[in-house]
Amino acid sequence: MAALKGSVLRPFAVLLFVCQIEAQAEDLYAYGEYLSGECLTCHRLDESAGQIPAIFGWPEDKFVEILAMYKHGARENAAMRNVAASLGDEEMAALARYFASQTPKESAQ
């Protein structure tokens, strides 16, 4: 099993390393698209909202501002504070870029 573990893991270790460098080379939208998967467990990409608001189509600066408020304790929700704690400036900017470009019409795909 140890040998197999090495063979499975090694190609991905290389792959991830390369791709993180590419991410720093400003593919903000692609990074945001990846990160958005975490948001979409709770936030729908359509009009339906309820207690958890829709977050697409916002101005990027507003999106980042609200995340920062959770991160610094200016907003209450414990789940969102925990989410924001895991996001650095680059992650917030990437998410803002991605969700700003989304419209409910595109939610089916």
């Binding site: 190609p11 467990t41 729908r44 909202a49 309820g50 504070r81």
Partner: protein, 428 residues
């Protein structure tokens, strides 16, 4: 929705044979060669499998995705306690695969996956058909260790339902609760760790208590726990004391010695020194990864499946990934939220390998909401990361005992909104 299954012959001509050297030279061999789509076969259409299928399908047009599930609809375990409590209809927790088939081009096969051959890279269906894959994702959920409690075999589940897989079992337990006379005793036996949905038994106790309080107020709940502590224990116990005083008796392992046997004929549960006669018995046995994971050599001696944390690849069989309750999840709990989170990391790894898509550092999250009674909900959650060794917890949070009624009501509403979002994320 299509019920058509593809046989080896149907698509055998499209599967590229790549030599080991060529495969090693290019991780994206099938896409680069362009002659055929790479093929991903997903076994199990729950929170893990459904999400992997959808994210791989929407991530690349160069991958053909097949999703195998043994039923045309999937009833979620999460929120099935709310069905028992009278908060949700069964229909509201049941989902079809129609959107995954129609909008994402996923081939949905309604059959049981009977076997997986890691060397031949094939999945065999119960109907005998064989499907080839470049990557298989096995998301079979849980199965039960039926040899753990004397007398509690597969035949016992009709009389003493576990209801730890939604669907017929949840309906069975609900019917028994509805049929029970006021003044009866509901005996529930939560399983030992690790098991699906750590707060689940205690949310279930809360939901049954809520139902009893409204309709059968002279009834009692006895909890014969296989553990000495449980998830969100202080919050649940505080809620039980406030909402259901004197209704619930929780007996930890140290007091009873645990459930040793059951007698189905008399609906009796037997511990070291006592026999508990139940009006309704809910026995949740010790658990292990779903049967196909055992049969395909994906599980280790623990009964669960070891994985590479950053890709969810099997440590035991190449070209197979695993997500959800069947895996050894490190610090993550076994939950629908966790499965959905793991599925996105898994989908990214598959897209990177088969379609040369950009891959980023894996991130994992879980949140579990539990309803205690109408408009009183609590939650617990955490962020996780992949280390060499395991999926490791970074930072987390949990509801506080002194929260206002308003906060608890907001948390309950949040849970309802989450259910709508995650099921859209899984089933499209």
């Amino acid at each position: 929705m299509t019920n058509r299954t593809m046989t080896r012959r149907d698509f055998g001509s499209k599967v590229i044979t790549v030599s080991a050297a060529a495969a090693a030279a290019s991780l994206a061999a099938p896409a680069v060669l362009g002659a055929a789509k790479a093929r991903v076969v997903v076994i199990g259409g729950g929170a893990g499998g459904g999400t992997v299928a959808r994210y791989v399908a929407k991530g690349s047009d160069d991958i053909a995705v097949t999703l195998i599930n043994d039923s045309p609809t999937y009833s979620t375990c999460f929120f099935s306690n709310l069905y028992l409590g009278g908060f949700r209809s069964f229909e509201s927790i049941s989902h079809s695969y129609d959107t995954l088939a129609a909008d994402y081009g996923i081939e949905v096969v309604i059959d049981r996956a009977a076997g997986l051959d890691g060397n031949g890279r094939t999945v065999t269906l119960a109907n005998g058909d064989t499907l080839n894959y470049d990557k298989a994702v096995v998301a079979p959920g849980i199965d039960f260790k039926f040899d753990a409690i004397e007398g509690y075999g597969p035949d016992a589940v009709e009389t003493m339902p576990h209801a730890w897989q939604a669907g017929a079992q949840a309906k069975n337990l609900k019917r028994q609760l509805l049929d029970m006379e006021d003044g009866g005793t509901f005996v529930i036996c939560p399983p030992p760790n690790p098991f699906r949905c750590p707060p689940g038994p205690y949310e279930r106790i809360s939901m049954v208590a809520h139902y009893f309080k409204s309709y059968k107020p002279h009834s009692k709940i006895v909890v014969l726990d296989a553990k000495n502590k449980f998830s969100k224990q202080k919050l649940f116990e505080d809620g039980w004391a406030r909402h259901f005083p004197d209704m619930i008796e929780w007996l930890p392992l140290d007091i009873t010695g645990g459930v040793k046997a059951v007698d189905v004929a008399s609906n009796t549960i037997i511990t070291d020194d006592e026999k508990f006669q139940a009006s309704v018995a809910n026995v949740v046995p010790p658990q292990k990864a779903g049967q196909i994971a055992q049969d395909a050599g994906l599980a280790d001696e623990s009964g669960w499946c070891p994985i590479v944390p950053e890709t969810l690849a099997s440590l035991q069989v190449p070209n197979v990934h695993l997500v959800g309750d069947a895996i050894i999840p490190g610090d993550m709990p076994k939950s629908g939220f966790s499965a959905n989170s793991q599925a996105k990391v898994c989908a990214q790894a598959i897209l990177a390998e088969l379609a040369s898509k950009q891959a980023f550092k894996p991130r994992f999250r879980n949140t579990c909401w539990s309803l205690i009674t109408t408009d009183d909900s609590i939650k617990v959650g955490a962020n996780y990361e992949a280390t060499e060794e395991k999926i490791a917890k970074i930072e987390g949070f949990v509801s506080q005992a002194d929260e206002s009624d308003e906060v608890r009501a907001q948390t309950a509403a949040e849970a309802r909104a989450w259910y709508d979002a995650i099921t859209a994320d899984i089933f499209g």
